[in-house]
């Protein structure tokens, strides 16, 4: 500290702000201007401000209404074929016309939603339940259990989803050739779920590894909480956000995967009304060049639904962004 200048240089003289203009507040007062808000509530508030959420929610809502009450949109029977009307263009009451077999294209698109959405929904539930259970156990308990689960997950992860499901389904087809509509859906769900769970396992495991080292886990241990209650009460709930985001996006992807399998003729049997089957049936129209429109209806519905879920996943991901949550 120099003693050379007794007087500070210009602009650095002693300055004191008027005290009444800079009132002092109590340190650490509680801001009660807004009602209490949990993280989920806050994320929900964020979500509601996002137009992407409203667009995707509207799309999904429309699809769900179609699934639950197809009768609202058409009173035609999707399983009634009239070969005499094969490939007839649209006419009144039949806006999409008829396909090669003489089915009403629009009615089939409406009724096809049920199988597609059901497969997507059930597969996602299966994958999330399996993934969280395995991922949480592997990440939380560690050791040989972790090695075992992680290696098994790696093996399944290495097999491409569609290829694995293809093989799996052909095995099921051979063993249970007659399994009905619901049985067919369960078979596709099983096949997709079997090769889809490692993705969630990995995400859940990573998240659990992060959460389990946080101080509130130690605090709970010091209270005397058992490992299991710690896992169920603290670790898993705090690991959910990224799992939810992935699950939302993958719902759309599983719907597409089902359609792909059905298109290849190995997913849902032809007796089941589904977008994949209809796209498969309509592919001949591309080759012949006749009435390509038949293809666009189920394909458009498929794209619309998948897009809805993928957009929702995007919006949810923004709302649950862990970076935003940290402070």
């Amino acid at each position: 500290m120099p003693e050379s200048y007794k007087l500070p240089p210009p602009g650095q003289e002693r300055f004191l702000a008027p005290i009444d203009e800079t009132p002092l507040e109590e340190t650490g007062t509680l801001d009660t201007s807004s009602p209490p808000e949990s993280q989920w509530k806050e994320a929900w508030k964020d979500l509601r401000r996002n137009w992407l959420f409203w667009v995707s929610a509207a799309m999904i809502l429309l699809v769900l209404v179609v699934v639950i009450a197809p009768g609202l949109f058409t009173d035609l029977d999707p399983n009634r074929a009239d070969l005499s009307k094969s490939l007839d263009p649209s006419s009144s009451g039949h806006i999409a016309g008829y396909d090669k077999q003489g089915y009403d294209v629009f009615a089939r698109m409406i009724y096809g939603a049920r199988a597609s959405v059901l497969v997507g929904l059930l597969t996602t539930i299966l994958v999330v339940v399996l993934g969280i259970a395995t991922g949480a156990v592997a990440g939380f308990y560690g050791g040989w259990l972790d090695s075992l689960i992680s290696r098994v997950a790696d093996v399944f992860f290495a097999i491409p989803l569609l290829l694995g499901a293809l093989v799996m389904l052909s095995v099921i087809n051979n063993r249970f050739p007659d399994r009905g509509e619901f049985g067919a859906i369960i078979a596709v769900v099983t096949a997709l779920g079997l090769f889809g769970w490692p993705q969630i396992t990995r995400i859940a495991r990573g998240q659990v590894l992060q959460v389990k080292n946080m101080e509130f886990i130690d605090a709970a241990r010091a209270i005397g909480a058992t490992k299991r209650s710690n896992l169920l009460r603290h670790v898993i709930p705090n690991s959910l956000p990224p799992v939810i985001v992935t699950a939302t996006v993958s719902l759309g992807i599983y719907i597409v995967a089902e359609a792909t399998l059905s298109f290849l003729g190995i997913g849902l049997p032809f007796g089941v009304v589904s977008w994949g089957n209809d796209i498969s049936a309509a592919q001949n129209q591309i080759r012949s060049g006749q009435r390509i429109g038949v293809l666009f209806w189920p394909a458009g519905a498929l794209a619309f639904t998948a897009l809805g879920f993928i957009l929702l996943g995007d919006a949810v991901s923004d709302a649950l962004n862990p970076k935003r949550r940290s402070e």
Binding site: M1, L16, A17, L24, T27, E37, Q39, E215, I223, N238
Partner: protein, 573 residues
């Protein structure tokens, strides 16, 4: 450091207004701040987090976060207004005329690039040197920043550097282009005190030598007063007081500055409660414990009688197994080596040391969260590691509770404050719902929080409030011992002072015994009775607080004491 009186200031900030955009609203962050920095001078901006000190500094180099905008005022750099200047003009200034030493050395170096390459980038970007010349210059700069063996260090990656070394590398980078002004934004708050002192000493001598003006941003008034010629105190976005550093410290006029001066741990010198009160607390605690012990003597799961010593560690040792160079091979790393101490009932024992000294590992072993490799921890004469039954372990949990360092991580973000404090009661099946609620209100009152906090969530509370909640949770089971693991280290000085006062009051009221883990000797003086100084896993000095401060035996302890910023400045009282 002689400053010619009549010169143009390097930096002049006039009535600066900065706001952050939130939706369509503008939230003011800096309101009419003015300050001047003369060539070769060190000017410090002091304030708590949220005071606008960093925002002011970042406005100078146009590094405000995306939503920040300058809404008024002028920033004159060598007489030229740069507040509204074009992006390209500011880019030309950045690095070459104004250097920056950022806050966190851990995240401000690219982990994939060699340290030398990153400094070279600064040279090349500012057209100082290229090719071989630049390589040579990098080594010189690193040497200048005080890194030994600079030539090989330049070829290393950031992960091979310690925190202090990284900060030196960042200083080398900030000074690479010989700027006229260096902005140092909390340059050492992430470092240990001893490293902090070394770095600041070095920065001081280097900037003196080069004639670089320094704008130092810090929350530590002691540090600012020690290093700066001129102090600017900011509070809620406004400059509340400024002037020559020593004058401000010895004669603070604004109530906020007064509060800062009285709270700074480095400047305070006394135990918060008097010697006589301390003895009373201790006797009371021993007596109460004896009474309780008599009452429950018939229970076999309770712990022994009210002895003087509540916790005793004997020869605690912990080895961690590190993976070796080849698969399957491993080496042992001794984190804690033969640590023994006694915690007397109703008193506070502090364990002090730098990061990596093993102090937190000791705390975790005492808590029973980590198994010791060898040695024992006795609670009221009972070895906690021999407790086998669930019932006994739960009984121990009720006696010993922790409060951790990071107020942002020590509460489950998904739990309301009510649920967080209720958790220990629920786990131990204490009381009915109604009784628990009364108890929680009571606990919140004890830690001076309004009952309205109950329904809130951790993300809505400030750091200090969360730490109060963590203390309330620790007290829910009416423990005898509370283990405070760096419990105040992450808090602003003012909040820190509040929490320390609270801890002291609670100790007097409830007869608690504290094991206080910290890296900050200044805080120790305010709260502890006895001190354990740890270095590299070993205890190097054990004694009472006054002995350590008045006549430290060990060289290492002396170094820790010297490192307390502002300790040498006399206060007018």
């Amino acid at each position: 450091m002689t400053t010619p009186v009549h010169e143009i200031p390097v930096l002049e900030i006039k009535d600066l207004q900065v706001a952050f955009r939130a939706g369509k609203k503008l939230i003011p962050a800096v309101r009419g701040a003015s300050l001047m920095v003369y060539p070769g001078q060190t000017v410090a901006i002091v304030g708590e987090s949220g005071s606008g000190k960093s925002t002011t500094a970042h406005a100078v180099i146009d590094l405000l976060p995306g939503t920040g905008v300058i809404t008024g005022g002028q920033i004159l750099f060598e007489g030229r207004d740069i507040a509204g200047a074009k992006k390209s003009d500011i880019l030309a200034l950045r690095g070459s005329s104004i250097g920056l030493v950022p806050q966190d050395p851990m995240t401000n170096l690219n982990p994939l690039w060699r340290v030398g390459t990153q400094i070279k980038e600064a040279l090349v970007a500012n057209d100082i040197a290229t090719g071989k010349d630049a390589d040579r210059r990098v080594v010189e700069l690193l040497e200048e920043a005080g890194l030994p063996d600079a030539e090989s260090r330049a070829r290393q990656f950031p992960h091979e550097f310690s925190g202090g070394m990284r900060q030196r590398a960042l200083i080398a980078m900030g000074l690479a282009a010989r700027p006229k002004l260096l902005i140092a934004d909390e340059p050492t708050s992430a470092l240990d005190v001893t490293v902090q002192k070394q770095i600041l000493d070095h920065l001081d001598s280097l900037t003196d030598e080069l004639g670089v003006a320094v704008l130092l941003i810090t929350h530590d008034l002691g540090l600012a007063a020690e290093r700066a010629d001129h102090l600017v105190v900011m509070y809620k976005g406004q400059v509340v007081e400024s002037g020559p550093a020593r004058e401000i410290l010895q004669d603070p006029r604004h109530p906020y500055t007064k509060r800062l001066v009285s709270s700074a741990p480095s400047l305070a010198s006394q135990r918060l409660s008097s010697e006589r009160a301390r003895i009373q607390i201790k006797e009371q605690a021993v007596q109460t414990a004896a009474e309780i012990a008599e009452e429950v003597a018939t229970h076999d799961d309770e712990f022994g009688e009210g002895q003087q010593t509540v916790v005793e560690a004997k020869g605690l040792t912990k080895d961690f197994v590190l993976r070796g160079g080849r698969p399957g091979s491993s080496t042992a790393f001794r984190a804690v080596d033969d640590v023994s101490f006694k915690l007397a009932r109703g008193t506070t024992t502090a364990i002090v040391g730098e990061s990596g000294s093993g102090k937190s590992t000791v705390a975790r072993m005492v808590l029973g969260l980590l198994d010791a490799t060898s040695g024992t921890v006795e609670f009221d004469g009972v070895d906690i590691m021999t407790l086998s039954s669930k019932k006994q372990q739960l009984a121990l949990r009720r006696q010993m509770q922790p409060v951790f360092q990071n107020p942002y991580a020590s509460l489950d973000p998904l739990y309301s404050i009510y649920r967080s404090i209720e958790e220990p009661l629920r786990t131990h099946h204490i009381g009915t719902d109604k009784e628990r609620e009364t108890r929680i209100r009571d606990l919140l009152d004890k830690v001076s929080l309004p009952a309205a906090v109950m329904r809130r969530f951790p993300n809505e509370l400030s750091g200090g409030q969360r730490q109060r909640v963590a203390i309330a949770r620790a007290l829910a089971l009416e423990p005898e011992v509370v283990i405070l693991d760096e419990a105040v280290s992450a808090l602003d000085v003012l909040v820190q002072a509040q929490i320390l006062n609270l801890l002291n009051d609670l100790q007097a009221e409830l007869g608690l015994s504290y094991l206080f883990i910290t890296h900050d000797l200044a805080v120790v003086r305010q709260i502890a009775d006895n001190v354990l100084v740890m270095q590299n896993g070993k205890v190097v000095e054990t004694s009472t607080v006054s002995t350590v401060f008045d006549s430290p035996r060990e060289e290492y302890t002396r170094r820790l004491l010297d490192a307390i910023p502002g300790g040498s400045i006399p206060l007018a009282t």
